[in-house]
Symmetry: C2
Subunit: 416 residues, 2 copies
């Protein structure tokens, strides 16, 4: 895309009311626009990143048999009253319509998905089934905090699975856990699964996924040899102790961000909604249910919190809005512009995502500052100097040193 | 996809409270689930169709320079109060939060997009700009009707453009009009643009796009030689008259469904939000603004209303959830199953979208009934008979006659 056509621009000033790095950097770089505390709109660059995160999540859920649907977000009040959540969930947004009907805004979809599953699951042969969506969620938070990471409106992938037995749920949980760890890995994040305390309704053990970062709200103790990880608040050991799980590794401590969770919902929702299936022996049973959440906008914020320096964001390649920032330092009609145009078209024809800074009237310093703030993985400069040398200057965002390569190698840089 | 894995099933019975063909067929075929009057969830098959419609809309908007964003749907009340719409728009959902703040649910996004554009447009050089999103919308309708076609929650593409002059808006409107007609054409619909009366705020002329169908809510008079089309309510001519536009064609009348609209918003919103740009002569001016809507879920409903018979839906190929319904009439371990499996894998490897009816315990009659109801463009049958003949039986959903072709031709059917 030509940067001269992109309607957003960078801002030099940090917004006064944003104290988190994620919102500050994303607003300054033109990725998001703040509508009010805890509510953001995603501008072209931000939506590109969010779409890539959503597609990674979608691919991993599809791989483990998840079937994608899109549930309503405007909910009738009846199922919420049936489960009791209408009165007990304080963050539930309630709406009074003109017709005197009451509605809720989706903050979780057990009340909607359970009756949907009931409609189609009659027999043990129909189980297990895993259904998910990627959609907006709403929470009436008293205070919004953490920038885009804990909002009143946010993007989330929520999956629900139904099983003939608790054992089958446990089997599937381990499959989902691996898929979640794949998601974090593909987003360039270092995540661990921890045991956590139960959610609003669950008395059972639940699991949280923690991304290790320097700026997390939580802290964890983890083993450097196996996958043992617990929240520091409940850990019996401390950093330096031997690992109680494998006995081999040393425990370390780190700050962390919660970036996903799993709830063992048991038979609670199927019982409320009279959802039974016919077992192999002919008896009627309630399915066991699991719930798996991962905040897509929260993941975006976590990636920023984990990948920045004093100049701006440093996007992992997998979720960067574009792979290359191609910077033209030339004027209209000159040979530098002709070469940059040729390379821009060459890359575009090869399907490489390029942001081409073809803006006129911007100094090299302004263009470099913008490139560092926006944070694409690779910066390429076409200047009088590089054209004279018959080269392209490339520099990784995360690296300090640039190098000169031939235009031919540059055009094939994402093909090798 | 294996149909044995698809969690939805067809229903023989039409829901009692659905009087429209679109909702009745979509529910019976397992595409949507009704949550309450005017609110539907999209199940795997329905979401596949909706995603294809969204991608057609997205491609056509991108082609004409539209930049996609994702705006918040939970809105602060302040901009709605600034424009006066908080009190004058009766379908606006209003929410009272726990913190005593008032929010609105998005039913149109002028109040959000105008301040976003103001943030980045400073000069005439930044104009024109066209920004769009594909998102959920909410309307507090007194009565929901027309199935999925006029709901309390629905999917919509809304684009907003800003221009330095009225002439530039008029120029761009014609570009959008062609893109809209491309969208309808690609969805298999016959649409016309008509002049219509203004919307809530607009005293100016606006445009509607009407899809000609046998079951429309509106009726139009149109020319069979040129693109003249007017709503029958305001038409001065009637069917059989000569066309007042081209003088050559005869006028015909047809029922029609409104499937898109354009509003010339003038400078109203920029004025309310103090959004000016610096013109070439140094003066400060308000941009001219246009708004272009197309309901994505409404389009889905319109496609169904235009493409069905007494057996079920007949999807146009461009938006069908799968291209082929491959039907196995064999048993576990027999050569019929082996051949069907081979063809299913062959098609999948070639990237062809196939729904493979591998369900056990279903009769040929049940499978054919389901295939007709679900309505994929091509049905292919693998039976003892076809395997003996070394052939595959194929039948277009819209056609009555089947034919036998070789397995090799079948595997390449979407490659020729």
């Amino acid at each position: 895309m030509r940067q001269s056509q992109l309607f957003t621009k960078t801002r030099r000033d940090a917004p006064k009311d944003e104290v988190t790095r994620n919102a500050e950097l994303l607003i300054r770089a033109g990725f998001v626009h703040k509508e009010m505390a805890g509510v953001y709109s995603y501008l072209p660059l931000g939506l590109k990143v969010l779409t890539k995160i959503e597609n990674i999540v979608r691919e991993e859920m599809n791989k483990i048999g998840g079937q994608e649907i899109r549930m309503a977000t405007l909910h009738p009040s009846e199922p919420w009253k049936q489960t009791g959540a209408w009165d007990s969930v304080d963050v539930l947004f309630k709406i009074q319509s003109r017709t005197e009907k009451e509605y809720a805004l989706g903050q979780s979809e057990e009340e909607i998905v359970t009756p949907i599953a009931r409609e189609y699951v009659q027999s043990y042969k129909d189980l297990p089934v895993a259904i998910y969506q990627i959609a907006q969620k709403y929470r009436d938070e008293l205070r919004a905090k953490s920038g885009i990471m804990r909002g009143r409106e946010f993007g989330m992938k929520d999956m629900y699975s139904f099983h003939a037995s608790e054992e089958d749920f446990a089997r599937y949980y381990h499959i989902v856990k691996e898929a979640y760890l794949n998601i974090y890995r593909r987003c360039g994040l270092n995540a661990r699964a921890t045991e956590a305390s139960g959610g609003a309704f669950s008395k059972k053990i639940s699991y949280e996924f923690m991304v290790l970062t320097n700026t997390g709200e939580d802290s964890v103790v983890y083993c450097n040899a196996c996958d043992y990880c617990v929240n520091s608040e409940v850990a019996k050991e401390k950093a330096g102790d031997a690992c109680p799980a494998c006995g081999k590794g040393d425990l370390k401590s780190a700050k962390a961000v919660e970036a996903g969770n799993v709830f063992d919902l048991g038979q609670r929702y199927p019982k409320v909604f009279h959802f039974t299936y016919k077992a192999e022996d002919g008896s009627d049973n309630y399915p066991y249910m699991g719930c798996y959440g991962i905040g897509t906008t929260r993941l975006l914020g976590t990636i920023v919190e984990t990948n920045y320096d004093d100049k701006g964001i440093i996007w992992p390649e997998s979720v960067a809005p574009f792979k290359i920032h191609l910077i033209l330092l030339g004027g209209p009609g000159d040979e530098v512009t002709a070469e940059a145009e040729r390379l821009y078209k060459g890359l575009s024809n090869r399907g490489v995502e390029v942001l081409y800074d073809d803006r006129e009237g911007k100094s090299a310093g302004e263009k470099f500052q913008d490139a560092d703030l926006i944070g694409l993985p690779l910066r390429a400069v076409i200047s009088k100097d590089t054209v004279q040398k018959g080269k392209v200057e490339i520099k990784k965002r995360a690296s300090k040193s640039a190098e000169l390569i031939s235009p031919e190698d540059f055009l094939n840089i994402f093909h090798d």
